[in-house]
Structure formats: C-alpha cells, structure tokens
Symmetry: C2
Subunit: 157 residues, 2 copies
C-alpha cells in the first residue's frame, strides 16, 4: 500500500468516526426540552459561531442529571442535542429561520475516555460535518464546566 492511499484511507476512517453519531430532528424534538436562548448580537461571547435561536434537548437517560443544580454526573447513554436556527426579525419578535447547526454530546466513559467520557458531533444546516477534533473543537471549551460534568445547559424552571 503506498503512502497516499494509506493517508486517504486514514482520512476516510477519521471522517467516518466523526460522523458516526447523529439523531434525526423527529426524534430529539420528542425528547425533553431543557432550555432555549436567542443570541442576536455580536457583543455576546458565543455569537460566533452560535448566533441564532437554539434549543437543547436531553434523552431519557440524562434527564435526572440535567435537572440537578450544582455538581452532577451524567450516566453512559446520555445524549444531549442542540439545534441552532437563524434568528429572523419579525416586527418586534425573533422567529426561527433556516437550520444552522445540529450538535450532539454523547456520554460513553469508555469510548470517549480521552475527552472525559463525552463524544462531540456537529453538522451544518446541510449535514456537513463540523467537528474535526473533539478535544480541540469542543471539549476544550466545555472544560470550563467540569464540575457540571462538562455540560453548560441548565434546566429552565
């Protein structure tokens, strides 16, 4: 096997891994709705890349943990979905426009041990993979909330 072919195969393999996990909207929109937010102005630290209306959902496995205030630990099998839409101005209101991003956090302590048990997956509105390196692209920022088991979202009361 020549070096170019081997690199191509390795590249293919890593893309397959990164795209391995995805949940259909029909499914995650029937999970539990955790919270929502509209980031509409550049002054917000997350405006780039997370501008727009976003909603966070959790599957049944992670429901109890995400409701906890303070320290929490999500069980293996937890999946958190975040969907981002463009924020469209409509006479004094923001409504949901085109889908911008779909992102998923998957808890599996063994499989994702190098990122503290979390797998990160993200796609643009056309389904193109956005995550090249889970540790660098996602987990480095989530490390801010290590005591919340790396999940920012708080259950809206």
């Amino acid at each position: 096997m020549n070096k170019t072919l081997m690199l191509a195969l390795l590249a293919g393999f890593s893309i397959t891994l990164a795209e391995a996990f995805r949940v259909a909207p029909e499914k995650y929109r029937g999970w539990n709705h955790v919270k929502s937010m509209v980031i509409f102005d550049q002054q917000h630290p997350l405006f780039n890349p997370f501008s727009g209306v976003h909603h966070v959902y959790v599957n049944h496995k992670g429901l109890e943990a995400i409701k906890k205030e303070g320290k929490r630990t999500f069980p293996d099998g937890t999946v958190i979905a975040i969907v981002f839409y463009e924020h469209v101005l409509d006479k004094g209101a923001y409504v949901e426009g085109a889908k911008r991003i779909e992102a998923f956090m998957v808890k599996d302590r063994k499989k994702y041990s190098s990122t503290d048990g979390w797998g990160y997956f993200g796609y643009d509105g056309k389904g193109k993979n956005l995550v090249k390196d889970m540790a660098k692209d996602c987990h480095s920022c989530h490390a801010q909330v290590k005591d919340r088991d790396f999940v920012f979202s708080v259950w809206t009361k």
Copy 2:
C-alpha cells in the same frame, strides 16, 4: 338555599370547570417541540399579553396534524401546550426568565362543540386561572385560522 350561597356554589363550579385541565411541565416538555418565538417589542401585535419567550408542544395524538402544511384537522385527544417565560436580556442574547403563562388547547369535538371542538385553558405564573370565557377570551382570535383547525403554530423545519 339562599341566593348568596347558590351564587357562590355556581362560581365555584365554573372555576372548577375552567381549571379542570392542566398538564405538568415535566410532562409537556417531553412531548414534541413544535416551535418557539421571542416577542420582545411592543410593536408586535401579540406583545400584550404574549411578550417573552414562548415554546409550543404537542402530544403524540396531534403530532401528525401539526406537521401538515395547509388545511389540517386535529383528532380528539390532541393537546397543545404553550409556555411563556419573561425574556431576560443577557449581553446580546435573550434567555428564559420567570414563567408568565401556561396555556393549553384540548381537542374534544363533543365536549367543546360551542368552540369548534377546542377547549382553552390558561394560568399565570402562580397558577391562577386566566380564562373566564373560552369563546371570548381565546376562540374569537383563533377563528382567524379556521382553515388550520384554529391552531396558529406551524412546525419548525
């Protein structure tokens, strides 16, 4: 029975009827999330009384109908929940504040025949009943979308 007692009993009975239907957030937030919106400025025609962040959910019975474009008919047993939170400004973003209103539409063609098959229920953030007269307080406005079976909400794609 004196007149005062009779009026008190009648008043009690009508309050019981109006408050008869309510779904807990733990339940409707696990239904299907239909759409969301943030009404933040007085120029929006629904600002009073529907300002803030709102989310619409539908139970399994009404899922197929609410996804339909154009004409649709919801089956008996459909329940639609709408929850309104205050919109809190946070450095270029709106987040969910205190709960303002919880409202429910219940389809039962026999029970609510005088309002085209829909029962309407609403409560403020403290649980106080807001609907005195379903026809006048709610259905008169929903009549605008008769061809959509009196439901404004459209499934976000």
